[in-house]
Subunit: 194 residues, 4 copies
């Protein structure tokens, strides 16, 4: 019966917001953005439809916030916006990490691809993903230039395509996907490869 403190209210609010975003991510990724209703999310969270609008301005806003949360969680691992150039060991570390964040957040990545391929949704949040991609591309190009490759930009594009392809295949059907073997192939054929 003790009244809650302001801090408690804020905590409750944040917990609930996280819960709503988790449910939203799950549904957007697995059922599709258009196929997911606000009602369904609210029902799964055990709250009313109306309360959703206390946390998110609109369905679109929820999607945007999900995208931003996803991006931020990636940036925690690795921020490519830096001046220095990668060494080969750092590159190998990066590759390992990219596999790690894939298996850590398959649902986020499922949403990522879903978003990239739905033009109307892409218009809403695609730019955020794209700018991240550009940063990576620049960094990879620098790496391959330093390595003395003939066509560093193509190599960077190659590596990014490989990762996009692996992510794509993995999120569509992770069962039996040979992640470790592919990691070795990437390192041998692209990173180290003559």
């Amino acid at each position: 019966m003790t009244p809650k403190t302001v801090a408690q209210y804020i905590e409750i609010r944040e917990d609930r917001k996280k819960q709503l975003m988790d449910i939203g991510l799950e549904l957007f990724a697995n059922e599709g953005y258009h196929n997911t209703t606000i009602s369904r999310i609210a029902a799964m969270a055990g709250i009313s439809k109306g309360l959703m609008y206390n946390y998110f301005e609109s369905k679109e806003d929820l999607l945007i916030q999900l995208a931003e949360r996803g991006i931020n969680s990636l940036l925690v691992h690795f921020d490519p916006d830096r001046d220095g150039v990668l060494t080969r060991d750092e590159m190998i570390f990066l590759v390992n990490m990219l596999f790690q964040i894939l298996t850590d957040n398959p649902t986020t990545w499922k949403l990522y691809f879903s978003v990239m391929m739905q033009p109307d949704v892409y218009r809403i949040i695609g730019e955020r993903f794209r700018s991240m991609q550009v940063s990576y591309l620049d960094m990879l190009t620098s790496y391959f230039r330093e390595m003395g490759r003939k066509d560093p930009y193509a190599e960077a594009r190659f590596l990014m395509a490989v990762f996009d392809g692996i992510y794509l295949n993995y999120v569509i059907n992770p069962a039996g996907f040979p992640l470790d073997e592919l990691k070795q192939l990437i390192i041998n054929r692209i990173i180290v490869g003559e």
Copy 2:
């Protein structure tokens, strides 16, 4: 006032149907399936909404027919359902062809990815695409086994991932994408490799 002949009716129907499918493909691929309305397609074709249903049972049926037309147009180029094993030259020919059909049908491929990543749409026609994929996977695995590679399945997965990644990146933004350079990288690093 002689009535139209049967042949005339057939021609009208086929022309109209092709027109509607072309517009449908364009819109589904570029605007998204859910974001494209039957009204919009009809308006772009300069016909009434109702006439759409003279040609397609439903919006879903239009999507299915588009998917099937896309698959069939691919199978014309190459049908992986065969017994023999590929030689290296045949494999190189296949790689060239895969780049060819990408640049020939970017919109179809845009729809392909769009479909693969929208779970609700995937449920409608994904299986048709998936079975094609499985056939390719088997064929590629056989090739790498014949080549004496250590892990033929992983190599096949690798090659497919590369192609998925390239296709994906190309359809999202074809401008400046170094297709030819990537083709060489694939041949050198994966097909001929080591």
Copy 3:
């Protein structure tokens, strides 16, 4: 190759019209008026939709013509619009006949009830059926008055209700319906009665 005579054309036209009405009756009665499309009728007859409008002004017109054909076929058997009063033998003959026309035209009767109970359809053709009913009612009332019954009008209503009930039950599910036994009950309990 001999050109058809005018008479032949008229005959062909009448045959086809009869065919269309038969199909229409079948579908209206068994699928419901609103649930039957002009397209379906035309398809079952092997003609085009457009040609239907060469025979009937509208879907409603087809229904009206069906109702009129049904009424006329009944009037052939027995026209109650007459002055004289029925004897008991004539009454028994009438009862027999009413069972006869039920088993002869179950589909027409199915349509009859269908029409009577669909207010929107009833508005179109109900009056035609109702006036026939009123004639019968008058005639039956006269009969029971002549027979010296206490309440001739109620007796007439009773007999009509029995017939409506029997018709209704028979058209809904004719299998196993004890028509002959019911005929005897009617004769013993109502016609001859007391």
Copy 4:
């Protein structure tokens, strides 16, 4: 500004639902199922079309719920699913009751016949009405068997047909229909009858 209590919401819902079902029954029965639009029901209730779907999953669902409400309201009066056999007094009581529920719920009965005679609508809810009918038929047959009648099944059919006919005639045009006189005729000629 205290929020509404759960009890208040329940009351609002029940009131509204009852209102919509009452209007729906009225319109389905008097205008026909197909001729009644959801828009019309909503307009008569002074609400938006969309709200209808907050209370009923579909137009068909409204019809089903109406049928079930109708059946349940009848079963309150009399449930034929019981073991015992009717005495003559109980039978007379039953007859009285059947006339009572006719005059109490003419609209429900109008819908009943409407449903029975529209094959497409019958498919939706007919079975619910039919099973009730079968129960009655069994019970009546038992009664006439106990009474020593020659053909108990035919007698039961006869009685049911009479009631169907009376109900049918009454709902089509109740004005001046001699219900009481017909009740006496039923009791004298069928229930008590020789």
